[in-house]
Structure formats: structure tokens, C-alpha cells
């Protein structure tokens, strides 16, 4: 795939992560989910200091270690080897989730299967009878973290919209999502529903609307 092709389709994974990183204020305590959200840390603008929390018990998570330097007892919530940054702290699970559930974490960036106009999030189960249900910390994060950002492709691999009027999959939390970063646009969840506040290069509002299941409004930012 050429770079030109990617441009025509909107933002790629790195660009989505980069766009989300721009919106995280200096000094935030941040929890990053597995997948594209993990990449956000690579794109934090110069001059900002963020502190990363990983719910298995580390505040001050650093980048992945060099190959051969991995420690099986120093991992993140995705069970990948990480490092501890200067100033890091280890703690047990009840303390770690007190940070989450006690509203001490400022921003959480998660993936999604569906997001509704009301900000409901579904990201843990398709609800199919033979699926092995697994929830991890997702419900704790959306219930307890002050600001919830979602990074996701605008549509599924089959072209189904992920931004929907109401979720058909089991919920992770109700009315919890603040902002969505997709390959096509940045979308805010407001009392009036989805509001597109920024479009990816070469992507029109009409195209985003067509790919959105719920009601989408153009924000005043798009008129510039």
C-alpha cells in the first residue's frame, strides 16, 4: 500500500495515536489500553510529562526494554515486558484499582467494538454464546477514570459502523466516552450526540456521516 492510498483513506494507526496524544494535558496520569492506545505514549509532544499507570501494579511505566533485557516480573496489563521510569512505584492490585475507581487517573485511552451516541461503550464481549467472556479492568476504567478517550477504526473490517445509535453488544459502561479518535475523524460525544470536531486529511464530513451509525453533527471547528 502506498502512502498516497493511506492518505486518501484518512489517518493510519500511528496518526490516530498521534492525534489522541495531542489532547492529553501536561501532567496527566494516564492509563493506555492494549493495541493502538499503547502507541499514544510514542507521540506525546515535547515538553509534556505524562505518568503512565498500568493496572497490574505500576505507576511510572516506561517504554519496552531492549531485546534480551526483559524481566518476566516487570510487565504491563497486556502482559508485555516494560520498564519502570525514574520515580515509578509498585503497588498491589487493590491500591492500583483504588487509583482507577477512586477517580485519581485523569485520562484513559481504550479500544472499542461499539460506541453509542450517548457515550455508551461496548468493548469486552460480542455476547455470542460460545465466546469465553473476559473483562479484565475495562469496566473499572470506564467507571472510575475522569476522561475516557477511544481510539478505533471508524468501521469494522466488514464495513459496519462502530459509532452507533445504541450498542448491540453488551456494555462496558453507560455514558462514559468523552471523545473518539478514528481513522476518519475526531468525534466528541455530547448531549446532542456525536459531533465531528476534526476530519482526517482528504475526508469529507459527508463521508464520515455515511460511515456513522448514529446521528453526527458537524462541529463549528469544521467551518474554518
Amino acid at each position: 500500500m502506498t502512502a498516497e492510498n493511506k492518505q486518501a483513506r484518512g489517518w493510519n494507526r500511528q496518526e490516530m495515536a498521534r492525534r489522541a496524544a495531542l489532547d492529553i494535558p501536561d501532567g496527566s496520569y494516564v492509563n493506555l489500553g492494549i493495541g493502538i492506545p499503547e502507541m499514544v505514549a510514542q507521540f506525546v509532544p515535547e515538553g509534556r510529562e505524562l505518568i503512565y499507570h498500568t493496572e497490574n501494579g505500576l505507576l511510572g511505566m516506561g517504554p519496552a526494554p531492549a531485546v534480551g533485557e526483559e524481566d518476566p516480573e516487570l510487565i504491563n496489563a497486556g502482559k508485555k515486558a516494560v520498564t519502570a521510569a525514574p520515580g515509578a512505584a509498585y503497588f498491589h492490585h487493590a491500591d492500583s484499582f483504588a487509583m482507577i475507581r477512586g477517580q485519581h487517573i485523569d485520562v484513559c485511552v481504550l479500544g472499542a467494538m461499539q460506541i453509542s451516541e450517548q457515550g455508551d461503550l461496548a468493548n469486552w464481549s460480542t455476547g455470542e454464546p460460545d465466546a469465553i467472556p473476559a473483562v479484565g479492568g475495562a469496566m473499572d476504567l470506564v467507571a472510575g477514570v475522569k476522561t475516557i478517550y477511544v481510539i478505533t477504526q471508524h468501521c469494522t473490517k466488514n464495513g459496519e459502523p462502530k459509532l452507533v445509535e445504541s450498542c448491540s453488544y453488551p456494555l462496558t459502561g453507560k455514558g462514559v466516552v468523552n471523545r473518539i479518535y478514528t481513522d476518519l475523524a475526531v468525534v466528541e460525544v455530547t448531549p446532542q450526540g456525536f459531533v465531528a470536531v476534526e476530519l482526517a486529511p482528504g475526508v469529507s464530513f459527508d463521508h464520515v456521516q455515511e460511515k456513522t451509525g448514529g446521528r453526527l453533527v458537524a462541529g463549528p471547528q469544521l467551518e474554518k
Binding site: T54, I75, H92, A94, F97, G144, L171
Partner: protein
């Protein structure tokens, strides 16, 4: 004069009284903190029909996955049974041979903490309006809905520490700490495998994470196996 000495002479002795039908909390988040030698000793010991509390369901055919594969676990209480390399649990679950109580990770941690602190139940916003709150008591505090969750206790906890002393004071290694301190509090009998058993007084009281009051037995495993290495080698226990 009696001297408090919680050290066990062997892994087998440490787990000898785990009985059929017991609830056993097992420390670890994935392989980090998994007390693999104690789990293998429990497999050798033979107790069955166990309820096991762990965040996951093990990987490969060693440790917790081997305990499950050997038919010793009737019921799992966990938050994430679908880990990479976890093949044993999904098969048993799909064929109806093991029960699952799925609990959000933070609720699981808080239930264990509450169980160890004498708190029978508490309210949390986690899982409200989701299937995991179905049938549970809801209450509204300051305009927000919360679901009631019960404290969780156990007959035994199997945990891993980096260092211990004969009184049972423990310190851990990095993110291997995870569930161990709260499981030590919630179990009637807490059994620890430690990398090094030190003299009383050798650990600075300022850095002790689990005070010895929460610990009953300690067995030294100076060089514990690394679960991911055993899995990569295709090892099967026993």
C-alpha cells in the same frame, strides 16, 4: 519458650492439608507472581473440586493451567480467562466441565481486600448498567448508581514472594506483587513460596509489604521456574 517459625520443610508439607472442595486463592497476573512450584505441589497432593481465585486461567500445560487440566478445579473466579496461550480453560469451559464466575478486575481485587478486612460487602460503580451487574442489589449515593459486591475469603492462598523472614514478613519483586498482599489477608491459611528466607530483623520494617500476621507457612524456592519458558519448551505438568 516458643519461637514463631512459619517455615515449612517442603512444598509437599506446605500444601498437605488443602482439602477437596476448598477455595484457593492463587497469586499472580499471568506468570508474574505465579507460585508455580506451590501449584505443582498441589497437583501432586491431589485435592480436587477446588474453587480457584486468580486473575487468569494460566497458560500452556504448567502451573495453574495444569491444575485445571488435571481436573482439580470445579470453579474459577477470575476477570480474564482468555489469555494468549490459555488453551486448557476454554476447552473445559465450552464443554461445560468448569464453572466461571467472571468479575471485573478491580471488583475482584476489592472483593479480596474486603474479605481480608472483615467487610462482608461494599458498593461500587464498576459494572453498573452491564450484564455483570444483573440481579445484584443497586443503591444510589449522591446521585450515582452503585452495585453491591460481596467480600471474598478463601481457605488457602498460594502466593510468591521475593524475600521473607521466619515471622512471615514479605517483600515482592516489581509487578509480581499484584494480588499477593490482598490474598494473604483474605485466606485462612496463607502459604508462601519465597526466593529467600531471612533472619527476623533482616528486612527493614519500612519496606515490608505484607506483615507476617497475614502469613502462615513459608517454603523456600530459591530458583523458581519461569512459566513462559516452560510453556515455550512445551512442558506438561506432571
Amino acid at each position: 519458650m516458643t519461637m514463631i517459625d512459619k517455615s515449612s520443610t517442603s512444598l509437599a508439607e506446605a500444601v498437605a492439608d488443602v482439602f477437596d472442595g476448598a477455595t484457593v486463592m492463587v497469586g499472580g497476573f499471568g506468570e508474574a507472581g505465579s507460585p508455580i512450584e506451590l501449584i505443582h505441589a498441589l497437583i501432586d497432593q491431589g485435592a480436587k473440586n477446588l474453587t480457584v481465585v486468580n486473575n487468569n486461567t494460566g497458560s500452556g500445560h504448567v502451573g495453574l493451567a495444569a491444575l485445571i487440566e488435571n481436573g482439580r478445579v470445579a470453579r474459577m473466579i477470575c476477570s480474564y480467562p482468555r489469555t494468549l496461550g490459555s488453551k486448557v480453560f476454554p476447552e473445559l469451559y465450552r464443554s461445560g466441565r468448569i464453572e466461571l464466575e467472571l468479575v471485573p478486575q478491580g471488583t475482584l481485587a476489592e472483593r479480596i481486600r474486603a474479605g481480608g478486612a472483615g467487610i462482608p460487602a461494599f458498593f461500587t460503580a464498576t459494572s453498573v448498567d452491564t450484564p455483570l451487574a444483573a440481579g445484584k442489589e443497586l443503591r444510589t449515593f449522591e446521585g450515582r448508581d452503585y452495585v453491591m459486591e460481596y467480600g471474598l475469603k478463601a481457605d488457602f492462598a498460594l502466593i510468591k514472594s521475593e524475600r521473607a523472614d521466619r515471622h512471615g514478613n514479605l517483600i515482592y519483586n516489581k509487578t509480581a506483587r499484584n494480588f499477593a498482599p490482598i490474598m494473604a489477608m483474605a485466606a485462612r491459611t496463607t502459604i508462601v513460596q519465597t526466593g529467600a528466607l531471612l533472619e527476623v530483623g533482616a528486612i527493614d520494617p519500612e519496606v515490608i509489604i505484607t506483615p507476617g500476621i497475614f502469613v502462615n507457612r513459608i517454603v523456600t524456592v530459591a530458583e523458581p521456574a519461569q512459566e513462559s519458558r516452560l510453556v515455550a519448551e512445551g512442558r506438561v505438568y506432571p
